[in-house]
């Protein structure tokens, strides 16, 4: 075993900086651009600028900027965990990287089967992006997942994958799958379209409802504190003491637990839908060679 006890190198520092700088840049940008507001308000993503475009202008919103910051941050994390990886070297970050890769491969293998083993990187990327996007609200930034456009984009990606795997045996089998019991054809078409919509709304609604409830509770506690303690002189009258405590507990549930759970559920549903869309027996009957793989 070679030098393994956490020697800190220049590259490590650089990659950790790459991990943390985007978040700091996001906070700085938010502090610099957000106008001063009275009290607590609930509003959507802020629009930074508009790019003129023929049909309608392209909006560069907080959602897009924060998503890109998270993507850069995750690239930094992945590079930090994996750079200089060697067989036989036992460092903590190598253990962590191996644990992530192995557990994700195991999850994909047990939920989707051997044919879809190549899906592990895609599912892991979706899981990580979604989880870190939801966790971004811990730093005070706007979490991209509480914008419907982000989750709808992911859901459309899933829908394309589902349709692609349903088409694997040709368009005829795909069309026939809708008329499985012929009387239920309209319902089948509706449920096919409802899949991405419900996935998008589920993730978006959970994250958004968490932030709305947190803001309402914080505002309510502030008001209550002012009514109860407002008569006290000086600092004691102005500082909202009741706002200490309860919002933090709510934040642990809504930001951490709910965000991670939704990321897991989104990845899980993607796996189940895509694996369920593939007509396995029919495909292997037609392509007997690939059945061995």
């Amino acid at each position: 075993m070679k030098k393994s006890n956490g020697q800190f190198k220049f590259v490590d520092c650089l990659l950790i900086l790459m991990m943390l700088l985007p978040i700091a840049a996001g906070i700085l940008l938010k502090v610099l651009t957000t106008p001063q507001k009275e009290g607590i308000v609930i509003e959507g993503a802020m629009i930074y600028c508009k790019i003129p475009f023929p049909v309608m202008p392209i909006l560069i919103t907080e959602t897009q900027v924060n998503s890109w910051l998270i993507i850069i941050s995750i690239i930094g994390l992945a590079l930090y965990l994996t750079h200089g990886i060697r067989a036989g070297v036992e460092t903590k970050r190598q253990y962590l990287a191996e644990w992530i890769v192995e557990s994700c491969q195991k999850m994909v293998g047990s939920n989707m089967g051997g044919y879809f083993a190549g899906f592990a990187p895609f599912i892991t990327a979706m899981l990580g992006l979604s989880a870190f996007s939801s966790l971004m609200s811990l730093t005070g930034l706007f979490p991209p997942t509480s914008d419907l456009n982000t989750t709808a984009g992911w859901a459309v990606l899933t829908f394309i994958l589902i349709t692609y795997y349903k088409m694997k045996c040709g368009p005829l089998v795909y069309l026939k799958s809708f008329a499985d019991p012929p009387a239920l054809t309209p319902l089948n078409i509706i449920s096919e379209v409802a899949t991405p919509i419900s996935m998008a709304f589920r993730h978006y609604g959970n994250v958004l409802s968490g932030s709305v409830i947190s803001v309402l509770v914080a505002a309510g506690l502030g008001g209550l504190s002012q009514t109860l303690l407002g008569k006290l002189p000086g600092f004691f009258g102005e500082f909202p003491f009741l706002r200490i405590g309860l919002p933090a507990v709510l934040s642990v549930y809504f930001d951490v637990f709910s965000g991670l759970l939704q990321a897991y559920i989104f990845a899980m549903l993607t796996m189940l839908y895509v694996a369920g869309a593939f007509p396995e027996e029919e495909y292997f009957k037609r392509h007997p060679k690939k059945g061995n793989a």
Partner: protein, 95 residues
């Protein structure tokens, strides 16, 4: 008169949002049932704990969907609909 009309629009939007959230009853009952059954299952077979928990969370997430639809409708009614409706009203009046 116009103020009264705008007031009615705002009030109706708020009432509608409140009524939409009645849909929260359904997921509440459904998820309660799911968790109760999961507790029973874990009590009967403690060794299946992790699998039962995973399946229960999945089921809860799917059962929650209808409630979240209602939530989205309520949020649209509170934050988006009043502005649109007032615009329509003002256009109709011709101001």
């Amino acid at each position: 008169m116009l103020e009264l009309a705008i007031g009615i629009i705002l009030g109706a939007c708020a009432l509608g949002a409140g009524m939409a959230m009645i849909a929260g009853i359904g997921p509440g009952i459904g998820e309660g049932n799911a968790v109760a059954k999961a507790c029973e299952a874990i009590g009967r077979q403690p060794e299946c704990r992790s699998q039962v928990t995973t399946t229960m969370l999945m089921g809860c997430a799917v059962a929650e969907t209808t409630g979240l639809y209602a939530l989205v409708i309520a949020i649209l009614l509170i934050f988006v609909a009043p502005g649109r409706l007032v615009d329509i009203l003002l256009n109709a009046v011709g101001k």
